[in-house]
């Protein structure tokens, strides 16, 4: 091969000819891709991205800023992976291309700071969110909104402000939760609760509810606070080696606990933890252990349905609609289980159209690709609004924050919650009824 025909990531780990060769360009993926639907531009479609990756491999495209941006525009909702009749996985290709670009053309400053410095250190992450908590708690937020300071912000900043959760704890959830919570009633399992970063930092109520629900279902729950980020943000930004470090750390820590299951209430964490065997496939020391590890990982809903949900004495008397997180329905094939949790809680479950369509969050797209992210969200909110629910349930902190923003943008009354919160409420209501009698 002469120089011209060298792959753009020649010598580095990245997508290969084999991954793209069989794309027959039928275009079926365009019909499900949220970024295509938003832009109607082939370059923002799975078929387009596969073509771009193919041309980079053939050495006909360079890793320009543009190229990189197209790889980063993918929301990784995985809808294209699912629909491709050939078995191509365009969404995965984008992630792998990001990793390849990161190696072949490392970026200075910000990203390494985030993914090598900040995310691996949960303590630091909590420190960063402290100002957010203070902003909310000191009344500054209310004041800012009252005098309409936030109105003066550009729409993107305003939406980011709206996305911030209310009533953030000043101390991270991991310092608030006990190390161990004991099973109620007959003991059925011994599990470890994997405390996700965003979940832990932003969604304290959800975390507590999950632990509570596990205990109510007869599980001894151990909550190891030394867990590190699942690795998804690193994979998302091409830092696959950092992600592998996280994976090794978590495997060592959690396998050592000898639990029956490793339970997470974050769709994204769950899908990453289950992917450890792929990430570490060529790591002779860890490949086998990664498989043992992944075999124990369960989403909270998946786990509860497996062991059988204990029927709560009380019920939650609300109209609820459920949004399927991409990382739950497509990455893990979990669709029915969260709905079963909600039914067990006695809610009136109303299905919205396109419940499994991406909400546009994809972690950080609101920051990196604001217009696409909001466009996809608005499309989603049409269906959410039509469901006329009092609560929107979804087992993913990213989705919850994005949907929360959608609710505010529309001026809806609905609350966005984790399914665990609804089920926990049903258990609590049962107890209140007991006490009242």
């Amino acid at each position: 091969m002469d120089d011209e025909q060298k792959s753009a990531w020649d010598g580095f780990e990245g997508p290969s000819q084999e991954d793209v060769n069989y794309c027959i360009r039928c275009g079926l993926c365009l019909s499900v891709c949220p970024t295509y639907q938003e832009s109607l531009r082939e370059t923002e479609s799975p078929r387009g991205r596969v073509a771009l990756v193919a041309k980079a491999i053939e050495g006909e495209l360079d890793l320009t800023r543009n190229f990189k941006d197209h790889m980063y525009r993918c929301l990784a909702c995985l809808a294209c992976n699912d629909i491709c009749p050939v078995g191509i996985t365009p969404a995965n290709l984008c992630l792998e291309a990001r990793h390849a670009i990161h190696q072949a053309k490392p970026t200075p400053l910000l990203k390494p700071l985030l993914f090598q410095g900040l995310f691996p250190r949960t303590g630091l992450l909590e420190l960063v969110t402290k100002p957010v908590a203070l902003y909310d708690r000191t009344g500054l937020r209310r004041a800012a909104n009252a005098v309409r300071v936030t109105k003066a912000l550009p729409s993107q900043l305003r939406d980011m402000e709206r996305m911030l959760p209310h009533r953030l704890p000043l101390r991270g959830t991991r310092h608030q939760l006990p190390d161990v919570v004991l099973a109620k009633g007959e003991r059925r399992a011994h599990v470890a609760y994997f405390l996700g970063c965003v979940q832990g930092v932003m969604m304290a109520d959800g975390c507590r509810a999950t632990v509570e629900v596990l205990a109510e279902n007869g599980c001894d729950v151990v909550i190891p606070t030394q867990v590190k980020c699942c690795g998804m943000p690193m994979v998302g930004y091409g830092f696959k080696d950092e992600a592998r470090k996280m994976a090794r750390h978590n495997i060592d820590l959690l396998l050592g606990l000898n639990v029956d299951a490793i339970v997470t209430d974050c769709a994204t964490c769950g899908s990453s933890l289950k992917e450890y065997p792929h990430w570490l496939a060529s790591d002779s020391e860890y490949a086998g252990r990664a498989q043992q590890f992944a075999a124990k990982v369960r989403d909270i809903s998946e786990f509860l349905v497996e062991i059988g949900i204990r029927a709560p004495q009380g019920k939650v008397d609300s109209r609820v609609t459920y949004h399927d997180p991409c990382h739950l329905c497509r990455a893990q094939g979990i669709r029915e289980q969260p709905r079963e949790m909600l039914r067990a809680a006695g809610v009136e479950l109303v299905e919205m159209e396109g419940a499994d369509a991406c909400c546009g969050s994809a972690g950080t797209q609101l920051i990196t690709h604001y217009h696409t992210s909001v466009g996809v969200l608005e499309r989603k909110m049409d269906h959410v609004a039509a469901a006329e629910a009092e609560m929107i349930a979804s087992g993913c902190p990213g989705c919850q924050m994005q949907l929360g923003l959608g609710v505010k943008r529309r001026g809806l009354k609905a609350r966005v919650v984790h399914p665990s919160q609804i089920l926990a409420q049903a258990y609590r209501n049962g107890k209140m009824d007991d006490e009242n009698q």
Binding site: G27, G48, L61, V86
Partner: protein, 481 residues
């Protein structure tokens, strides 16, 4: 009517670019290499980067863009969602790709006249879903229904399984707005059912593949939505029996909505992709659908059909009992073509069309061609109307396989013509079938077609080198030649 080839490379001339940007907006003129790659292909293996991509969102903008192209003599290649299977929208000589996808508004559903007026970039499935909510039916259903536009469907006169009973796209096009090569806007046809005032220009543009004008708006005929449908799957150990069955059904006076056939290669591929539990020891499966307004008659019809299948040699006949089962059968049928890629990286999907009675002979001949050239060919298609899709499987990186593919394709075309059929039933000529057109339709047809092209596009700027075989160098863009 040679193209000003010299203009192609020059066209990034700043002032022209600026003019186009003023017309459609800066962000809708794409020139980055990544964008040019993304607009370099369709549903075939052909590819070539355009010089730039323009994305207008109205007839007026298309008209202005054509005005510039006409003045500067720059080739323009109209494109919808690029799911075509004849390389008709691939810019094989460069030029401007004119993307119609942003023109995606349904303008009017007329429930009294049973018509819908729509922009060209509306996705066919979206239109069908929208009108069905009003109890109306737009029947044409190309396999690419979810990823193709009505403008593209009309430009290529798309067919689909249902055209056995309901007809093809052209049967539903009642009027068009077309931007001509020089930028003038032509309105032809309308909502009236009968219309013989002048030449039938509407139908001239249907199937013209963007070589005569750019379709920007369509008035489409709708019919009442059938309320009931029943689908049967019949498994035939012998392919010849399946063909006989098709004839017996149709000659018995029954017109099902669809009769779809898949041969053993297609069955094996689809099973590998979708795990539906299809039998792997049979030569053919027919998927037959009956539909209508009234449940009783539809059920009676599908049962009669099932009976005919059994007496003609079907081993097993199943009528889908739920909507879910029915949807699964159809998604299987739609996935055949793409699933073939599991067997080989490239495929040449042909769409010959023969008289119904010649189907068994055509299939036998294609199987023989596959043996002779030692190259796999999967056959499936619309058995009810004689439109077959032999798909030649190959790897374009291997020159030996490419040679075999080209020879097999030429032989298949000859079989079709010999049996009284034609090259293309529903994909169109594009550039893929150019070398074989004359053999099919004869020199006089070509002469008349060239005259029409010359009259409507004297500068030969609209999708040059497609459909009409021309002198070498102009029409020599075929990838099969």
């Amino acid at each position: 009517m040679a193209i000003r080839q010299d203009k192609v490379g020059e066209m990034l001339d700043k002032s022209i670019l600026k003019e186009l940007q003023t017309i459609v907006g800066k962000k809708h003129v794409l020139t980055e290499p990544e964008d040019l790659v993304a607009y370099s292909y369709d549903g075939t293996f052909a590819e070539r980067r355009p010089d730039l991509v323009v994305r207008p969102d109205s007839t007026g903008q298309v008209s202005q863009v054509m005005g510039v192209a006409w003045r500067e003599e720059i080739p323009v290649i109209p494109r919808g969602m690029a799911s075509g299977l004849a390389a008709a929208s691939v810019p094989l000589i460069g030029g401007i790709v004119l993307d119609t996808c942003r023109m995606n508004r349904i303008l009017e559903i007329d429930e009294r006249n049973f018509t819908v007026t729509t922009q060209a970039g509306v996705i066919t499935q979206h239109l069908a879903d929208t009108v069905s909510k009003k109890g109306l039916f737009y029947p044409p259903d190309p396999s690419s229904i979810k990823q193709s536009t009505l403008g593209g469907n009309a430009a290529c006169n798309a067919g689909g399984p249902r055209c056995l009973k309901y007809g093809v796209t052209s049967d539903y096009v009642r009027g068009l707005t077309v931007v001509l090569a020089d930028g003038r806007i032509l309105n032809t046809g309308g909502k009236a059912i009968k219309n013989v005032t002048g030449y039938n220009l509407t139908q001239l543009f249907v199937g013209s593949e963007g070589t005569l004008g750019v379709i920007t708006e369509l008035i489409l005929k709708l019919i009442p939505l059938p309320r009931v449908a029943r689908t049967a799957k019949a498994v035939f150990p012998k392919l010849a029996d399946a063909s006989r069955c098709v004839n017996d059904i149709l000659c018995g006076g029954i017109t099902p909505a669809t009769i779809e056939l898949m041969d053993e290669t297609a069955i094996a591929t689809i099973e590998e992709a979708m795990h539906l539990g299809l039998p792997l020891d049979v030569e053919a499966i027919l998927i037959i659908e009956a539909d209508g307004m009234d449940r009783e008659s539809v059920v009676r019809e599908i049962e009669t059909i099932a009976g005919i299948c059994r007496t003609t040699g079907a081993r097993d006949v199943e009528v889908a009992s739920t909507e879910e089962e029915r949807a699964r059968l159809w998604s299987a049928r739609r996935a055949i073509s793409p699933s073939l890629a599991r067997r080989a990286p490239n495929k040449l999907g042909e769409d010959i069309s023969v008289p119904r009675s010649a189907i068994p002979e055509a299939i036998a001949a294609i199987k023989e061609i596959s043996r002779q050239h030692d190259i796999p060919i999967a056959i499936f298609g619309h058995a009810g109307d004689g439109n077959l899709h032999p798909n030649i499987l190959f790897d374009k990186r291997d020159p030996v396989q490419v040679g075999k593919m080209k020879r097999a394709a030429a032989d298949i075309f000859q079989v079709s013509v010999r049996l009284g059929g034609t090259l293309s039933g529903d994909h169109g000529v594009g550039s893929l079938k150019l070398p074989f057109v004359e053999q099919d339709i004869g020199p006089i047809s070509i002469d008349v077609m060239s005259g029409i092209k010359q009259a409507l596009d004297p500068k030969n700027i609209l999708n040059p080198g497609k459909v009409v075989p021309g002198p070498q160098g102009v029409g020599g863009a075929s990838i099969l030649g």
